[in-house]
């Protein structure tokens, strides 16, 4: 059938392309930058990847809070390396998102003007050293469960970034658990510190997997596009099963009086999640939302003169880069 060419795709052609696109997805062929993709796929991916990137960058703040107070040289080195990794992860992810045609500065602006979101878990405060352990153990633990399936997602650059990230992430979780272990088996004050941290981070970590499947309408399309490979509830259950066991090994008590092992299903069952708190924190009323965003706004604003200087210098010395390093 003859279709007239305007400056882009006409209906008939677009359906054909979309069919071809879906067919390749079904064959698990990866989508690469500049391949044709449905606009909705591009938009959804961009939102998902950039949100992930923002989360890594904002996530540096709660732990970064304790770098100057880490209680031994080794712990300092480890924490600093971890937070550095998070900056790196953010950068890998922005780099993947940029292949979809949006400049990084635009994504950063969306974050700073609250148009874009980041993982709500980072709106909670790190009040003690044990919180650093809890974040590594629980938050990174949850992140790993979410991220490993994404190494198989349909978009090439995102999948590759996730492979890199997952390699680095396992040390993050281990160091967190290691901190908790030392504390749980330390002085009574240290044990209490660890228990207190678990009590404050448990439910927010469980909420990290997002609303229940029944309340998540977009999941189905994302799963068909292979951008999401397991449902929120599936991932959440995996996290609970593995983490409750670890808490028992630590000798710490999960703050859930209704927590019980179901022998028939071979899974742990938990009590009710406070979804009011979840939505409240997402909306902006968590304990640290304002402080987190303000820290990023300050870094951006106060850094403008530095970024401008680098650009000015590069322009003045444009010939310098033709002589190899």
């Amino acid at each position: 059938m003859y279709t007239s060419i305007s400056d882009g795709i006409v209906e008939g052609q677009s359906d054909e392309r979309e069919t071809a696109f879906n067919e390749r997805l079904d064959r698990s062929v990866k989508v690469e930058p500049n391949d044709w993709m449905p606009e909705a796929y591009r938009k959804t991916l961009l939102r998902q990847i950039s949100q992930h990137a923002h989360s890594e960058i904002v996530g540096m703040l709660p732990e970064g809070n304790w770098i100057t107070r880490a209680p031994s040289l080794l712990r300092k080195l480890i924490l600093l390396a971890k937070v550095q990794d998070e900056a790196g992860h953010g950068l890998y992810l922005y780099s993947a998102a940029e292949t979809l045609g949006t400049a990084r500065d635009e994504m950063v602006e969306a974050l700073l003007t609250k148009k874009a979101k980041y993982s709500s878990i980072f709106n909670y405060p790190t009040l003690t050293w044990a919180d650093v352990g809890a974040i590594g153990w629980l938050v990174d633990g949850a992140a790993i469960i979410n991220q490993i399936p994404l190494t198989r997602c349909s978009y090439g650059p995102y999948a590759r970034a996730m492979v890199r990230i997952c390699k680095e992430e396992s040390f993050h979780q281990r160091q967190g658990f290691d901190i908790m272990w030392k504390l749980a088996h330390g002085t009574p004050e240290q044990h209490a510190m660890a228990q207190d941290a678990l009590e404050r981070w448990w439910w927010p970590s469980v909420m990290m997997f997002g609303p229940p499947d029944s309340a998540s309408p977009h999941n189905e399309q994302s799963m068909r596009w292979k951008i999401k490979l397991f449902t929120n509830d599936e991932l959440r259950q995996k996290f609970i099963d593995q983490t409750v066991q670890q808490a028992e090994q630590l000798g710490l008590k999960v703050p859930d009086p209704q927590l019980r092992w179901n022998e028939a299903t071979q899974h742990y069952e938990i009590g009710p999640i406070d979804w009011d708190e979840f939505y409240r924190v997402i909306k902006g009323d968590g304990p640290c939302n304002r402080e987190r965003l303000q820290a990023r706004i300050d870094a951006w604003d106060e850094g403008a003169w530095v970024r401008d200087a680098a650009v000015a210098y590069a322009e003045k010395h444009a010939t310098k880069e033709s002589s190899a390093a």
Binding site: R307, K320, E321
Partner: protein, 94 residues
């Protein structure tokens, strides 16, 4: 955007004998900074002996819509592959 640092693509050779591999991209104001940033970002875990940085705008890529014209013709030229040819029994070193 105003004064955004340009984007660079990063290629790392992880050890002698291997080719440079594309590992991702980053922003830097100039080439020297791009190399240093790449070193800090992509070779923290001993992953490189050599780094190439290229301005993203300098990369010329094939157009995906031309994929069929560019790449499919090579599919039916099996005579370019050694497996196309039958080697008579007993003949060695082929």
């Amino acid at each position: 955007m105003k004064n955004e640092w340009p984007l660079w693509e990063i290629f790392v050779r992880s050890e002698n004998g291997l080719a440079h591999k594309h590992v991702g991209s980053l922003h830097a104001a100039d080439a020297e900074m791009a190399v240093q940033n790449a070193r800090d970002l992509y070779t923290r875990r001993n992953e490189g002996v050599s780094i190439w940085v290229v301005r993203s705008s300098d990369i010329v890529a094939t157009d995906p819509s031309q994929r069929e014209a560019l790449f499919e013709p090579s599919e039916d030229k099996a005579y370019r592959h050694a497996t196309f040819y039958q080697v008579p029994d007993g003949v060695k070193h082929l």
